[in-house]
Each structure stands twice: as structure tokens, then as C-alpha cells.
């Protein structure tokens, strides 16, 4: 092949590489193995790495209006639990325009709306791999949701996020996924901690309801990458 032919081939290869990179979510959303502080967490992450990558990819492609936080997918220990209980966890930022109607709600009402919209949908996606759900080392699930509470109102100000951390033990999650519990039951029995910016709000009592937003909402004109199927 001539030098110029090689150049053309190299450019074509670059295009293909760029296209494949754009089609894949960044793996930095998944906690790296060397970041686990116990063998139990590391073992789970090693055994179920494919499930973690599948979860990352499904959220990336099929819920494009949310953003998974870096190093937030993995088997973490909830801080309020003393033993080394390992919960499959994910933290997402829900992107939405500031809405006066939404802002006027009480914090519990905003949290309930977000819980209803996302917790059930994410629990289902976190349980697509039967081997993961069946692993006795897995103790539960953590879903962390955050959204914009307040935009910067002056130069130099920073936006403020509101956050809920939802902890669902494995038995409760599996009963919900097996349709023996409603999402209202899950909200009633799960531990939910609220945060306003960096400040803790303590445990929140939420009233959740079925919300099929995630399965029905479509971003206008959005086309998933070839080979990706969203349910």
C-alpha cells in the first residue's frame, strides 16, 4: 500500500474508532476494582462486572435525559449499616428545567415524585441479570437520585442540587420485582435519606405511586445506537 493509501486507511480507521467510542458509555461510571475497601465488595464486582457494564449501557442509551455520576455504579456499603452489607448502587442526576410548580412542592413531595418516577424503573434494570439477584453476597440496592433545586441567581453562585438516597433491602426488592409488593410498599419500608445541597435532611417518609414515565417518555427525534434495544 502506498503512503497515501495508508493515510486514507488510517483516517478511515480513526472514523470507525470515533464512531464506536461515541456509541459506548464511559466505563468511569463504574467503581474500579481497586477502589473497593473489602474483599466482599471486590468479589461481587469481579463476579458481576458484565452486569454492571450492562446497567451502565442501558441507562446511557435508554434514559439519555439522566446522567450517571462517575464511579457510582458498584457494590457499596450504606454508611448507616455497620456490617459489610453490599448494596448494588447507582447515582443519577435527573436533568430537568427549573419548574415553578415543581419547586413549590414540599421537599417530601418532590422526593416522592422522583421516587415514583425512577426507583421502580431502576430496580428493574438493576435486576436483569438473574445470577446477580441470586448471589447470596448481595444484600440490597441503593438508588441515589439528584436534581437541580436552584439555579445560580448571581454570578459566582453555584447551582444547588437536592438528593435522595433510597436503600432497599434485597428481600423487599425481590418481592417488588416479583409483583408481591407495590412501589407504595417499597417507599413505606425502604430507608430514604434526603439532602438539600450538602446538608442532610434526615430520613424522609414518602408516598410513592406507579409512574410509567421512564418506559413511556421518548426524547424527540432520539435514535438509539444500532444494536441497542430499549424496553
Amino acid at each position: 500500500m502506498s503512503g497515501k493509501g495508508t493515510l486514507a486507511a488510517a483516517l478511515a480507521a480513526c472514523l470507525l474508532l470515533a464512531a464506536s467510542a461515541w456509541a459506548a458509555p464511559s466505563e468511569d461510571r463504574i467503581l474500579a476494582l481497586d477502589q473497593y475497601t473489602t474483599d466482599k465488595g471486590r468479589r461481587l464486582a469481579t463476579a458481576h462486572g458484565r452486569a454492571l457494564r450492562a446497567l451502565n449501557a442501558e441507562i446511557y442509551h435508554c434514559m439519555p435525559w439522566v446522567e450517571v455520576q462517575k464511579s457510582s455504579i458498584g457494590f457499596f456499603r450504606p454508611k448507616h449499616i455497620a456490617s459489610d452489607s453490599r448494596y448494588l448502587s447507582v447515582r443519577i442526576y435527573v436533568e430537568q428545567d427549573p419548574s415553578p410548580a415543581f419547586a413549590a412542592l414540599r421537599v417530601e413531595e418532590r422526593a416522592s415524585a422522583m421516587f415514583s418516577r425512577y426507583v421502580g424503573a431502576l430496580l428493574r434494570r438493576m435486576n436483569e441479570d438473574a445470577a446477580l439477584a441470586g448471589d447470596p453476597a448481595l444484600d440490597g440496592y441503593t438508588v441515589i437520585l439528584e436534581w437541580l433545586k436552584q439555579m445560580p441567581r448571581a454570578q459566582g453562585e453555584r447551582p444547588v442540587h437536592e438528593t435522595i438516597a433510597v436503600f432497599v433491602d434485597k428481600a423487599l426488592a425481590l418481592e417488588y420485582l416479583g409483583r408481591r409488593r407495590s412501589i407504595t410498599d417499597v417507599a413505606a419500608h425502604a430507608k430514604v435519606r434526603g439532602f438539600d445541597g450538602e446538608a442532610g435532611l434526615g430520613d424522609l417518609r414518602l408516598a410513592a405511586w406507579d409512574d410509567n414515565f421512564v418506559s413511556t417518555y421518548k426524547v424527540a427525534n432520539y435514535q438509539v445506537e444500532a444494536g441497542v434495544t430499549c424496553r
Partner: protein, 99 residues
């Protein structure tokens, strides 16, 4: 004259290769912009997020006339990056979870 003719003859394949290179570079540019014009991107950037109510996210990239409108995952990421409001005040992961 013969030397000049040889130069022209030699220049023909070189120009073809240059055109191939230009086509590839052009394709790369088209791919990176998602086939949208500047005006279309302005429309896109103006509607890059959504309301909690559900009437939201008018991701309305209008591609060139006669082509099917198309928003890719990469388009969304680009718009999100451009609309970044700065580092938010939010709870750290370490306040909630242990690694």
C-alpha cells in the same frame, strides 16, 4: 514541456488521494456535528433539558431538509456539556456510601 506534462500526469493520482482524504475529513466533520447547521444547534441548545411535568425536552434538531430528524446520544452529551451551570453544591457520595 515534457517535464511539465510528466508533472501533471504524476499530479493526477496525488489529487485523487487528496480528494479521498478531504472526503474522509469532511465525513468526520459531518459526524461530529450530527448533520446540524448552526441555527439548528441554537434550537437544540435552547431545549436541552426537560420539565418535571412531562411536557419537556424539545430536542428538536432539524437536520437538513429532506432528511429524517435525528438526535444521537452524543448530541445530548454535547448539549449537556454546553449547558453546564458549574460545579453544583450537592452531597458527596462518601456521605452516603462506603467503598
Amino acid at each position: 514541456m515534457e517535464a511539465a506534462a510528466n508533472l501533471r500526469r504524476e499530479g493526477v493520482p496525488a489529487m485523487r488521494i487528496d480528494r479521498i482524504g478531504l472526503l474522509l475529513i469532511g465525513a468526520a466533520l459531518v459526524a461530529t456535528t450530527g448533520c446540524a447547521t448552526g441555527e439548528e444547534w441554537a434550537t437544540w441548545r435552547g431545549h436541552s433539558s426537560h420539565f418535571a411535568s412531562g411536557s419537556h425536552m424539545g430536542f428538536s434538531v432539524r437536520n437538513r431538509e429532506g432528511t429524517q430528524a435525528r438526535v444521537t446520544r452524543q448530541d445530548i452529551q454535547v448539549a449537556r456539556d454546553q449547558n453546564w451551570w458549574g460545579k453544583p453544591i450537592t452531597v458527596s457520595q462518601e456521605q452516603i456510601l462506603e467503598r
